[in-house]
Symmetry: C2
Subunit: 373 residues, 2 copies
């Protein structure tokens, strides 16, 4: 058995996904330390929330088993991003930065980290769905782009741990022609419309289903952050770019917001929810129109690759269509390609939640660790 | 731009999958030669069918664009496997062996190739579903097992290009507990039962549907090779082993054959098909029994991981179940895990055909090329 190699892990974010990731990291570290061929010591070099940090200026690392109590008792402030980049750049071993935030500033700093040879794994959509310039800077710097820097992997930025991005990359890498990508990309929207218009009939008023989804924890604290469609638009931006389209931003294509124009001026989420019932009639009309055609309404996103068109909004689907048959808060993503013909390659399952999102991040970390060997 | 690195590709098999792979390889080689960061020259070093070969003793390689005519006019016999291993071992550059056969002898030689540092990508099920000793020898030698040899990837050994094996590996690598794997793993069985008992009612006699499937090219030349369930049993063996179960062989668990005992003595496939109508009554009874329960019959395989049980055979499914709702000759694979809870991670799409099988092989090659950098 050769001497173990050392890889440092720097983590930003310790919320739902961050906590689940740190737990998975602990299991992975124990396993890799025992690897018969490439024993690896994974050390937690740095861990930061927005308020405090574990920071080891002498690169000793912190025990993974007690990060929570260590962080609680820490009085250290997080490093500013340029300082963090410098600190990681001077590390005596290779570093993987794990960004478990949804922070735009951290995303904006990726090119700087990558060009220093620091690899990044992250579920943060902002880096890949913001301006096209940021996208280009990231993949110009990254080794798995056209650069010589660190690797960047972001499976969980679409569909959490579902193998969506890796599958799309495989299709493109092997020379298939992706024709259309279509699906339900939001657990919230999935739950909401599966309840509003189940394939078996029934379902409540739209506003009541929104309140129900919020009460069950399926929406953001302010449900408008789901209903405006921006989250779905960000995911479609990522997929369209991976398929080769130069999408400028998540607002550069048609996105249907489910926030009625009249309620755009609501000052709070509660105010909005209180007034939403005024628009139930309009949603009921949509539902009935679909029903008459033997269909159901779903909130979907699609990319027409040859037509270079991306759109997000309500569509009607036959009851037998896989998108109509979806259950609970599952996501579904269908890839229509030249090779797969009429029957698309479909991936389906939970597309949100701490554990499954962290799983995508950890799987990316495993891939990067293999490449860093 | 640095000098291009050279990687040699040795290919065994030039049938449906082999041809499609060589076409994808040609596209990939053109792309990699232009890579801005790691320009790579992929050369076809060796290509063999069971009868003849392209063999370049001085390691010059053959143009990918004209492999078909070169092979046609070749008078060279294929190298015996030990000679091939020696030849590849002495190659001046790294070698990836692509086994596009379903040959057991080639599979048996994998440990010898791997231990010489030769990587392997393949859709050949025999290597991973034969004896458990062969499985252990392969992964003891492979670098992505516990060895120091070449890499071995075999995505297309289950579900062709569908991301089945990579997803299962990701689940296991990140510490999820796989509870059950269940699905339709044969395009032939999928087509046969979707026609025999469509969810919309109707369907023909079982024997007529078998003949229809054969006429449409959905079965092996001898349909018994599909109906005996062994192909599905091999795929389940692979998945069960990846999930950690030490399955001895594809015949060490219950596999329901759809060849009636009375017809086991038939001397030809035609003789068998001529006599199969005698058993239509039995299959009709199964269909009606399912119908009474509001279900349909499907030929599925499943792995109960905690219970260490694998089985293959007919099962009944509710009309709303994703397995019942499958269309055409699609495969479907559902992973039930601790993290995904009641709603499994599902992958669905074409699980057979030259192009999509070759896609899995080419995607594996891309992964190996990245790791060989």
């Amino acid at each position: 058995m050769s001497a173990p190699r050392q890889v440092f892990i720097a983590v930003i974010g310790a919320g739902g996904v961050g906590k689940a990731f740190l737990s998975q990291l602990s299991t992975l570290a124990a396993k890799l330390s025992q690897s018969p061929t490439t024993p690896t010591t994974l050390s937690l070099l740095y861990l930061a929330t927005s308020k405090k940090a574990l920071h080891s200026p002498s690169y000793d690392g912190f025990p993974l088993s007690s990060w929570e109590s260590s962080l609680q008792s820490s009085t250290t402030a997080p490093l500013a991003l340029p300082q963090l980049a410098e600190y990681l750049n001077e590390s005596p071993a290779k570093v993987v930065l794990v960004d478990n935030t949804s922070n735009q500033s951290v995303a904006d700093a990726y090119p700087s980290f990558l060009s220093k040879g620091i690899s990044i794994v992250t579920p943060n959509k902002k880096a890949f769905s913001g301006s096209y310039d940021l996208w280009k800077s990231i993949f110009t710097a990254a080794r798995n782009g056209s650069g010589t820097g660190g690797y960047v992997y972001h499976e969980s930025s679409v569909g959490a741990g579902l193998p969506v991005i890796s599958t799309l990359n495989d299709l493109v890498d092997t020379g298939d022609q992706v024709l259309k990508i279509e699906g339900v990309f939001s657990g919230t929207m999935s739950f909401l419309f599966n309840s509003f218009q189940p394939t078996t009939g029934g379902g409540g008023k739209f506003s009541a289903e929104v309140t129900n989804a919020k009460d069950k924890g399926y929406t953001e604290p302010d449900a408008r952050d789901d209903l405006n469609g921006l989250d779905v638009a960000r995911k479609l931006t990522i997929l369209a770019r991976l398929a080769g389209l130069p999408i400028e931003s998540p607002t550069s294509f048609p996105v249907q917001s489910l926030i009625p124009q009249e309620l755009e001026s609501c000052t709070s989420g509660d105010d909005f929810l209180a007034r939403l019932p005024e628009f139930d009639g309009k949603m009921d009309a949509l539902k009935q129109e679909a029903e008459k055609e033997g269909k159901v309404v779903r909130f979907v996103g699609s990319v027409d690759v040859p037509g270079q068109k991306v759109k997000v909004g309500l569509e009607k689907f036959d009851l037998g269509h896989p998108i109509a048959a979806l259950k609970g808060s599952d996501n579904i993503i269908a890839f229509y390609t030249e090779r797969y013909g009429d029957n698309p390659l479909i991936i389906q399952g939970a597309g949100a939640g701490g554990d499954v999102t962290a799983m995508g991040v950890t799987a990316d970390l495993v891939k990067v660790l293999r490449l860093l060997q």
